[in-house]
């Protein structure tokens, strides 16, 4: 079974991001970039499926600038067999990415697509769902457990108030939640091997996909700074403020 793992290059989770002075977006100059943590979980799950003998080939794919090859190499070092870079220099919205991924799905014909439920840069939580809709495949989102048997995949989903288990017919789309697994570290020998694994670059044009956006980002702003707290003199004053100012009791 072939597994396709779409991943994304994002600002490293340790970086404290800053909004650009002109409010056009987040300042990415000299900022450390990494693989989106949810995507690491997706790669790990695919590698575990391969170790169990369920998956036979893992293909990592990303849509992004040439520099996103770094994240593909990381995926290769973690255990993916080959990688595809869909080279796009402008920032694309979720629908454009889903359309590009659909073209890759049609070309590669994977039985399973595993991707992060969202990317920590824009937190959209859309690409997996859009991809499922565009392909007409079943989807199991927010997975905390994935079990493939025969032509079905059973996905335990994290939902409000508990866990829901769904069974999907393959081919299917699965998006990963935090508790699905704990990703491994890439070992040095595997980092060295990754250099020799194939990495192919394609363009949106070659895939026949228009990435024209229907959404325009107007303004990006930092969250409002929290105002300082105050000290109250008595419990009575506290209760009064909770009732009348904060209106929480």
């Amino acid at each position: 079974m072939k597994v396709l793992v779409p991943i994304k290059r994002v600002v490293d989770y340790n970086v404290k991001v800053r909004v650009k002075a002109d409010n056009s977006g987040v300042d990415l100059a000299n900022v450390k970039m990494s693989m989106n943590p949810f995507c690491e979980i997706a790669v790990e799950e695919a590698v575990r499926l391969k170790e169990k003998g369920v998956a036979t080939e893992i293909v990592a794919v990303t849509v992004g600038p040439a520099a996103a090859q770094e994240q593909l190499r990381t995926a290769l070092a973690l255990g993916a067999d080959r990688a595809i870079l869909v080279e796009a220099n402008e920032e694309l919205n979720s629908l454009a990415v889903a359309k590009l991924l659909k073209a890759v799905v049609y070309k590669e014909q994977p039985q399973l697509v595993i991707l992060g439920k969202q990317a920590i840069d824009s937190d959209n939580n859309q690409t997996g769902q859009m991809l499922a809709a565009l392909c007409g495949y079943a989807q199991g989102t927010f997975a905390s457990k994935v079990e493939v048997s025969g032509d079905k995949v059973r996905v335990a989903r994290e939902i409000d108030g508990g866990s829901q288990t769904v069974e999907l017919s393959l081919p299917a789309i699965v998006t990963t939640d935090l508790r699905l697994n704990e990703p491994r570290y890439a070992s040095l020998p595997n980092i060295m091997k990754a250099k020799k694994k194939p990495l192919e670059t394609v363009t949106p044009d070659a895939l026949g996909v228009s990435t024209a956006s229907t959404v325009k980002t107007l303004k990006v702003e930092a969250p409002a700074a929290r105002s300082a707290g105050i000290k109250v003199k008595s419990v009575a004053e506290l209760v009064e403020k909770l009732k009348n100012e904060a209106k929480v009791i």
């Binding site: 000299n30 900022v31 450390k32 990494s34 090859q69 770094e70 190499r73 990381t74 070092a77 570290y185 890439a186 070992s187 040095l188 020998p189 980092i191 060295m192 990754a194 250099k195």
Partner: protein, 383 residues
Amino acid sequence: MHDLELSEEQRMIRDMARDFARREIAPKAQSWEKAGWIDDTLVTQMGELGLLGMVVPEEWGGSYIDYVAYALAVEEISAGDGATGALMSIHNSVGCGPILRYGSQKQKERWLPSLASGQAIGCFCLTEPHAGSEAHNLRTRAELKDGHWVLNGAKQFVSNGRRAQLSIVFAVTDPELGKKGLSAFLVPTDNPGFVVDRSEHKMGIKASDTCAVTLNDCVIPEANLLGERGKGLAIALSNLEGGRIGIAAQALGIARAAFEAALGYARERIQFGKPIIEHQSVANMLADMHTQLNATRLLVLHAARLKSAGLPCLSEASQAKLFASEMAERVCSHAVQIHGGYGYLEDYPVEKYYRDARITQIYEGSSEIQRLLIARELAHYDL
């Protein structure tokens, strides 16, 4: 992020080591220090990741890429815990290194794959109670009797002494030949004549086990001679550059951890109505610390590049080690200072960094020895 000069592979290794150190090492460093022992599972994990075979080529089961990757990895691991950085650096440079360069085919086959994968840890028994910087003045004797070497003597400051499966022991084989009468031997530590007397109680890197060892009629096969008879001193001094690059990177890692702790604290600690980083005297300290850290990294990576290219770098490696270790004490001291009274408490990590950093000016050639070497190399400086 100023890493334009690094290859994609070097960056991946640095990032992996950083991630690993942040998640698996730093949170446990304090408890290991109390126990005086680095968790065995962590050492196994480091072995599996290839961090313990970074000077051994792939054909021997190692993960050598170059000394830049090695220095970057040691810096990251040491930023997590100085003692773990010591274990890593010492195992790589003086545990694996001598067998790689001087081992026979058989010795390499027997030991290199297990050392490079961390299944066996190596230690280095050179120093003796009265022979530190004067490394050639050994008293441990090795005598050939009926096809076996019999070793007798006392060794001091043996890092990884209790953890190691293999020790490289230096001893006098031919006393009349002076410096040319020393030889090196491979001694498995389960030999009944290899006796670990005690673990030393140290000022810092307490989780790194440093031992005094006695060789008590330690009988080993004749074939355990490493390299040629009489080449002991050359073997002992063969990888000074690699070892010094490792310790320089360790000092750099400890100092960076101290700097980052101080920076974080200075942003949060409010005095006189504003974060102390906005007080000029604190800001200036942090500016100096950051500058010195970056200058050190340039020196360390420069020496590492020369070493990787096979170019002579005795002076450069000594400069990196001298500068890094002395910088580390200053930076860690500033980090304690910025924390004020809290910096003196065990509740904050900086007092440990300060203690851990101190050793880097002493082992793998003291600052005085580094200056001596750098000055000696000046004889070849063209004006």
